[in-house]
């Protein structure tokens, strides 16, 4: 949230250094195997930011990577999910071993918490989660919700969800201009509300576009510059997840990640060493895992789906 109309283009390294702190509440963009903010997740791991609280809806391997690197003290989300590739395995193990605090919500409830945050409201009401263990289980979420009676109708309990304002959100988008006007194409999940609720927003993008393009079609701007602190040009910044209009997910690399995440230990550590700590930036990681022919095939598969 740098409200000024100034140029905000920087590197991922600069952005994470400046806006992510140990202890930060970090909003996680993307969903399952689509448009995850992988480049920024790598950079946060590289910079070893500790005791993070990760919040989002469907959190996937960007979250799992930070959990696997031992940086996360709590997650608040709807799922830890890599779809057909399974659960987020480092997260799952950490929860099973009691090493990670989790607060479970439904996806809509998480989105409503961000909506409240984005509107400066203390809370949002919902009728979701009533009657289930999501609100009765052990009271772990109890500082995030209360149940009240609908003042206009008898016997109509309503859940009030406390607003959630991340310290910083990380998002990968298709386009942004240098001032931080962001265009997300395709599904937008919870990211607009989450970004607008956040104190800082860091955006990697496949392409930096001229502001004239934004101003010539102002209905397309998904996040205006007043919410955005850093714009990072990072082609393939969502890899190995898919980015609509650019490339599909890389099933091979996701499977490789899931394999080492399932095993954990030295094998997982080697993945981190080879692909995160051992790379000075995301481009170096990309150069290790993607040659031009695999790039082309991921691009071509996307193209084939776009007609």
């Amino acid at each position: 949230m740098d409200r000024k109309f100034i140029e905000k283009v920087m590197t991922a390294s600069e952005a994470v250094e400046q806006f992510v702190s140990s202890g930060s509440i970090v909003g996680i963009g993307g969903q399952t195997i689509g448009r995850c903010s992988m480049a920024l997740a790598h950079e946060i791991v590289r910079q070893n930011k500790q005791n993070l609280i990760l919040v989002g809806c469907s959190m996937s391997i960007s979250m799992d990577l930070m959990v696997g690197a031992g940086l996360v003290s709590r997650t608040e989300c709807g799922t830890g999910n890599v779809e057909s590739f399974g659960a987020t395995m480092r997260w799952r193990r950490a929860v099973e071993e009691g090493k990670l605090e989790v607060r479970d919500f439904s996806h809509l409830s998480m989105a409503f918490r961000f909506l409240a945050g984005s509107l400066g409201l203390p809370f949002m009401p919902t009728k979701s989660m009533l009657g289930t263990d999501l609100i009765s289980e052990s009271g772990v979420n109890s500082d995030s919700y209360i149940v009240m009676d609908n003042p206009w109708q008898n016997n109509d309990p309503v859940v009030l969800l406390k607003a959630l304002n991340p310290d910083v959100s990380i998002i990968h988008a298709q386009k942004a201009d240098k001032y931080g006007n962001v265009v997300i194409e395709g599904f937008k999940t919870h990211e607009i509300e989450m970004a607008k609720a956040s104190t800082h927003v860091l955006v990697t993008c496949e392409e930096i576009i001229d502001s004239d393009e934004i101003r010539s079609d102002p209905s397309l701007t998904t996040i205006p510059y007043i919410y955005v602190d850093a714009v990072i040009l990072q082609k393939w910044g969502g890899y190995p997840t898919s980015v609509y209009h650019h490339y599909v997910h890389d099933a091979d690399h996701i499977s490789l990640y899931q394999k080492v995440a399932r095993v954990g230990g030295m094998e997982y550590q080697k993945y981190l060493d080879d692909y995160v700590y051992g790379c000075k930036n995301f481009d170096e990681y990309l150069s290790k895992v993607l040659d031009s022919s695999s790039k082309n095939s991921l691009i071509q598969e996307m193209d084939s789906l776009l007609e």
Partner: protein, 257 residues
């Protein structure tokens, strides 16, 4: 009849509960493929809605994820999670909500959060996602799952998504606005249906070549049978099989070929 055909028929039978024109909140996994089958087979004017914000796409086979470009194809709106789960589902406009789950109990409650104790889990599962919202707000709920004994316990270890909770008034007592939805659970062995008088699932249909005994042996809760006994699930036609094989899941993403 082979297991493979039972799997096929599970998807086809589930799709039969979707009518043309229905607004369907489609959860990830098997619901995506069954809903796509419905769209291609008999419900071309259904509105396929995916929680990530995709409304009314003409789905390209075979989507593997709620973020898959295949469910963005020719959508009428690329919106937000709130567009889908808020303005359609929570607003009360979903005719059908379609989910899966790791455990389904006799009241049609679904667990997708944890096996064992929440605070000391045996297996931590992915969590609710949109499933809680879908089961809470849809006027009709479809649940699809492969039939295994451990999937059908008497009581879920954790209720992620509400069925009838603990009886016929369970949803009403909890304050849910949709307090007596139709619920059907479609497996590769049978179809359970909610008896609104008891709030419990009963055995409404059975797959061809499957016996009631088979279902009993593979189910952790008591099998209730109506006086008329279960119907037999309609055999798939050759057209249905070939549609599923060739146009809905041609590469065998969900179903063995």
């Amino acid at each position: 009849m082979s297991d493979k055909i039972h799997e096929y028929l599970m998807v086809i039978e589930a799709a039969r509960y979707i009518s043309d024109g229905d607004v369907v909140l489609v959860g990830t996994g098997l619901p995506m493929v069954a809903s796509l089958f419905a769209q291609k087979n008999h419900a071309p004017n259904m509105c396929y809605v995916v929680e990530s914000g995709l409304i009314g796409p003409e789905v390209i086979p075979t989507p593997v994820s709620v973020s898959d470009p295949r469910v963005m194809n020719k959508a009428i709106n690329h919106g937000t999670l709130i567009s889908a789960l808020g303005e359609i589902l929570h607003r009360g406009l979903a005719d059908v909500g379609f989910i899966s789950g790791a455990q389904i109990d006799q009241y049609a409650n679904v667990n997708s959060t944890v096996i064992g104790d929440y605070n000391n889990p045996k297996v931590r599962l992915p969590g609710s996602g949109g499933a809680n919202d879908i089961a809470t707000h849809s006027r009709k709920i479809l649940i699809i799952a492969r039939h295994e004994k451990r999937r059908f316990p008497e009581k879920c270890d954790y209720i992620t998504s509400p069925g009838y909770i603990d009886g016929p008034d369970g949803r009403k007592k909890a304050g849910l606005h949709v307090y007596d939805p139709d619920i059907n659970v479609i497996t590769d062995q049978c179809v359970f249906e909610i008896d609104k008088k008891t709030g419990k699932l009963f055995l409404a249909k059975i797959m061809p070549d499957v016996t009631i005994e088979d279902v009993k042996n593979n189910t952790g809760f008591e099998i209730i049978i109506s006086n008329s006994g279960p119907e037999v699930v309609l055999q798939p036609t050759q057209n249905e099989i070939s549609l599923l094989n060739n146009e809905v899941d041609p590469t065998g993403v969900y179903l063995k070929h």
